[in-house]
């Protein structure tokens, strides 16, 4: 997706309390053949990263567990400040992922997901486009909360196969669709999720971009809200 070179590299700041993890991410990002992402700051605490050049980064890559403390409650304030937050963690249980999404984070990457997802995700988020990594697709599939958005059968199928195979090309072959259509199904799910939970500037930007890209129509935003508000008859 979006593999064309960007006008300027996306800037990213990393908060992780393990130096070796920060080094690993730096290596991952530098290995992108298109050089789409530039790491401009990294540190062990949110404060130390935001005091320096990290304050203006396009994307903040945040390890969910810092010095043994889960920082889910910090996500909302970071998002309210207008930051695009990408959370990554080894805690990949659905409850944690859905809580992170609700708090306003742009997306969630599991530590078990490979480096290609990492770069693609950061680029998508920086341009306010949806990106659902496979582990997040799995969390959405097991969402049984009453406020969950209503997904179509095809959207659910695309999510399921994406979670299983981690390859949109394979999903497309299985469903007899083009890869672009598969991507559309999956991205629409993320847009639907942007309608629930805490509002944040990054969510508004995501919705605006989704309308511009023709992923949804402006009137659908209201429909999602009414689906989210009413009881969902689907199991």
């Amino acid at each position: 997706m979006d593999r064309e070179p960007l006008a300027r590299p996306v800037t990213v700041a990393v908060v992780d309390d393990h130096p070796i993890a920060r080094d690993g991410i730096r290596t991952w990002l530098s290995r992108d053949p298109l050089g789409r992402v530039e790491l401009i700051a990294s540190g062990a605490t949110i404060e130390s990263v935001l005091q320096g050049p990290g304050a203006t980064a396009d994307v903040l890559l945040l390890d969910l567990e810092l010095q043994g403390v889960m920082v889910i409650d910090r996500i909302a304030e970071l998002c309210a400040e207008g930051r695009r937050v990408v959370v990554y963690s080894a805690h990949e249980d659905p409850e944690t992922i859905l809580a992170v999404l609700d708090a306003g984070a742009s997306t969630f990457i599991a530590k078990s997901e490979n480096e290609q997802h990492c770069v693609d995700t950061i680029v998508a988020v920086a341009t306010d486009r949806p990106y659902v990594p496979p582990v997040m697709a799995g969390a959405i599939l097991s969402d049984t909360r009453p406020q969950r958005p209503r997904l179509s059968e095809r959207e659910k199928e695309a999510l399921l196969l994406w979670f299983q195979s981690m390859s949109k090309a394979s999903v497309a072959r299985r469903m007899g669709l083009t890869e672009a259509t598969v991507r559309q199904y999956i991205d629409r799910v993320r847009v639907k999720y942007a309608k629930i939970g805490r509002p944040a500037p990054s969510k508004a930007a995501l919705l605006a971009r989704a309308i511009e890209d023709g992923l949804i129509e402006a009137r659908e935003i209201r429909e999602y809200r009414s689906f989210a508000a009413g009881p969902d008859p689907a199991p």
């Binding site: 080894a90 805690h91 990949e92 249980d93 659905p94 530590k111 078990s112 582990v135 799995g138 969390a139 599939l141 097991s142 049984t144 399921l160 979670f163 299983q164 195979s165 981690m166 390859s167 090309a169 394979s170 072959r173 299985r174 199991p235």
Partner: protein, 366 residues
């Protein structure tokens, strides 16, 4: 009897109390009421009416006891029967000459309370029983007024009999109901404690198993780190594979949050563990709660995925997505092809992508 121990224990107490109440009413009616009727036969104005009342008492008591012992439900038209019981009061009062009102010959007002105990047994709370006993008292006072026996001594006798019988009847009903609910609570508490004990034992086993695997992965990691420190080449493909296997293992341990694993996930986990020992990097991602499945269905669901997992050469991704009505198990692995057996009730899909085999089995198969 249901399997619920609380219901069983409470049921036994309840039945015992019901039987005792029926026996008390029957003994009272035969031992006291019958002797009083026979002994005062010549005193009554209309002895036949009193004999009829005695038999009607037996009839009402039989209906109430049958409802209690057979169907465990209140007899139909319970206030109709209660009204009939109060009518016995009036009949015998009318049959008694004034001097025998409050005497042994006027037996119903002391004993119909036992009928009410049986009739109102399954009612929630003692309110209706209290209303009935109060009405009984009012009927008796009215009878005394009509017969002109409201002197101090008569009133004192009335109070003595009234308080005595009400205390026995109401006390019995309230106390046995309290005993039954106490027995039910005790059984519930004991069942809950047994359940908690069982869950704790399983959780302890799971925990011990995790500690054992953690120790293993820790040992493996220590050996790898030592090798690296001693100058092993990080570019060595064998070393990198060992690192990847160890990391996948560690990640799985972190991701395991279930105290009591579902049998299907447990089976997959065991097989993933075997594959890891062969050096395969396995990600196992169960999502959603697996419903209780018949063992044949579970076997059918896991057969092809487990085969793929056992054939994986270096990498495998195992996912389970489940809700109450659907379970989907998938394995994506660099494995050789193998024939898929058709199994009733489960749909298995196979897709090959170059080196990679993608197996998915779904229940229910449509």
């Amino acid at each position: 009897m249901t399997g619920d121990p609380a219901a069983y224990v409470a049921g036994r107490y309840e039945r015992g109390s019901v039987v005792a109440a029926v026996v008390i009413a029957a003994c009272w009616h035969v031992g006291y009421d019958l002797t009083a009727t026979v002994g005062n036969w010549s005193v009554y104005r209309w002895p036949a009416a009193v004999a009829g009342a005695w038999l009607a008492y037996v009839g009402i008591g039989a209906v109430a006891a049958r409802a209690l012992l057979r169907t465990r439900r209140t007899a139909g038209a319970v206030w109709g029967l209660a009204g009939a019981a109060l009518a016995l009061d009036v009949i015998v009062l009318a049959a008694c000459p004034p001097h025998e009102v409050l005497g042994p010959g006027d037996w119903p007002w002391g004993s119909i309370g036992w009928l009410a105990v049986l009739l109102f047994w399954w009612r929630r709370g003692p309110h209706e029983l209290i209303v009935f006993l109060a009405l009984n008292g009012v009927v008796m006072l009215a009878g005394m007024a009509l017969n002109g026996v409201l002197d101090r001594i008569s009133l004192a006798r009335f109070l003595m009999v009234f308080v005595g019988s009400v205390t026995l009847q109401l006390g019995y009903s309230v106390a046995t109901h309290a005993l039954t609910s106490a027995a039910r609570r005790a059984a519930q508490v004991s069942a809950a404690r047994m359940e908690a004990d069982a869950a704790r034992q399983v959780a302890e086993q799971v925990h011990a198993d995790r500690l054992r695997r953690y120790a293993q992965v820790r040992k493996a990691a220590a050996e790898l780190l030592k090798a690296l420190a001693d100058g092993a080449d990080p570019a060595d493909p064998v070393l990198r594979r060992e690192c990847a296997t160890g990391a996948a293992w560690l990640r799985r341990l972190i991701a395991e949050t279930d105290d009591v694993p579902d049998p299907l996930v447990h089976e997959l986990r065991a097989c993933a563990y075997d594959a890891e020992r062969r050096g395969v990097v396995v990600s196992l991602l169960p999502r959603g709660a697996v419903p209780e499945l018949p063992i044949e269905t579970r076997r059918a669901l896991t057969e092809a995925p487990l085969e793929a997992l056992s054939r994986a050469r270096s990498e495998a991704r195992v996912t389970v997505v489940a809700n109450a009505g659907e379970v989907v198990v998938s394995v994506v692995a660099d494995a050789d092809d193998f024939p898929i057996r058709r199994i009733e009730g489960v749909r298995v899909t196979k897709q090959r992508e170059g080196d990679v085999l993608w197996i998915e089995s779904r229940w229910p198969g449509r």
